[in-house]
Symmetry: D2
Subunit: 144 residues, 4 copies
């Protein structure tokens, strides 16, 4: 697949940031989306005690949410219809507690219908907390 | 590995339900844990609009959280120290919106150090929303 | 998606068995395909020392091949064009050596474009050697 | 975990190459193991028609075998006992036929007991055929 040109991608990434601001889960978790210079989606999640599990570390589901988001929002700007997550894997490398987390996606394969991204979550000091990869499919749903 | 006897497992499952009640994320999502007659962990999540994504469906991260929980709490009662999720996979079969969700785990392999469970999420009418499987490891952390 | 009727499925399964007989890897490994009464693809692999790894157990790649096959051939009869494996996961539960292996697929989700199966490999005494799941997509390639 | 020093790693990688030469599957597939300057295991598989599926492309199981190998042999030199593959995922990006394939591993996380690698398979012109990642565990089996 041929990627859209840089101006289109930049415009769509700006739209994605605006879109994400309308997502209830953004506010419920406290996540912030930006895009880095390579066009990767970056999600910051300042420590939110409401996402702790019973042993008071950050729940793996919060890490999975960051990974899914990082992949989805890295891939989505390449398409003019909505995409859907088909599947993703999560590998948890170390427990984390009471820390800011940053997730980042990276496009691995851009396909006409199916694309693949890999994702990671790190702490501010660079420790690798979780990695994953996922498959995303285009849908017929037209973006507004 | 030889599983603990039924009375021990029943007692630990009751402890797990009490433990989960102390998890901040339980209350932030609105999840309820029970165990079924086979000893599988069952998580109910009544529709919580705060977990919607921007297109107003339930975020895949919420489904991943349910899957992780269903596997972890199915496996945990078999051990007298804490377990940790090593990895899990998530396959999303259909988008869902504005619906109660129920996740269930099933023990696939009980090992001395590494165990495997599979998990699923369904709607009240039985539609299969997501499936997954995961690997869980014992840790040296003693349960209180 | 509505599944084809039973007669069509039965005919396609018979075609699949014939097709697999033309696969060079079938003969290189020594695999045999049948379908069980539920329509699941079953692959038998009598012990083949050529598939041993250096420590003289059966190589995980042979187990992965069985899993991929069990999923692909369980899903394929539902479609009138070829399908392709999008992704699959492999969990290895115990090392095996010098034994016959049997893999079996199970349809989890039948979709218009994307389907999911889960798969397992057992020894003749029923020990669970490996489990997996995968996503399969229809392609536009017409079956002959 | 602290990695062994460079001389130890270099010696173990040389042992691994010798070890792999004793693997029956090496010869059955026609795979060649080397290590690159970063210490990643590299597997070359010249086109072997015996690994074709019925449609005469390279079977996904052969790709999975390369991925598993690339991860296992990248991680193994860091330990003085044998390791075992716990699980790995496989994503197939495009069908391939009649071509040399090269797989490469990359260490993602080195742990005392559990380590993670990611792996990829490319054609000679650099096309990305498959990606994966896996978890590997130390065992108590002493290397000879």
């Amino acid at each position: 697949m041929i990627a859209p040109d840089a101006a289109v991608l930049a415009a769509r990434r700006a739209e994605m940031v605006a879109l994400f601001d309308t997502a209830p889960i953004k506010h419920h978790f406290g996540m912030v989306l930006t895009y880095d210079e390579q066009g990767s989606a970056v999600f910051d999640l300042p420590y939110n005690p409401a996402l702790d599990h019973a042993l008071k570390g950050t729940h793996g589901g919060a890490l999975a949410t960051l990974l899914d988001n990082a992949g989805w929002f890295t891939v989505a700007p390449y398409f003019d219809t909505w995409i859907a997550t088909v599947e993703f894997s999560v590998r948890l490398h170390q427990p984390v507690a009471r820390t800011h987390l940053t997730a980042r996606g990276e496009l691995v394969r851009l396909g006409r219908r199916l694309s693949v991204a890999r994702m990671e979550v790190r702490t501010p000091d660079g420790a690798l907390v979780a990695t994953g990869a996922g498959t995303f499919t285009v849908t017929s749903a037209v973006r507004i």
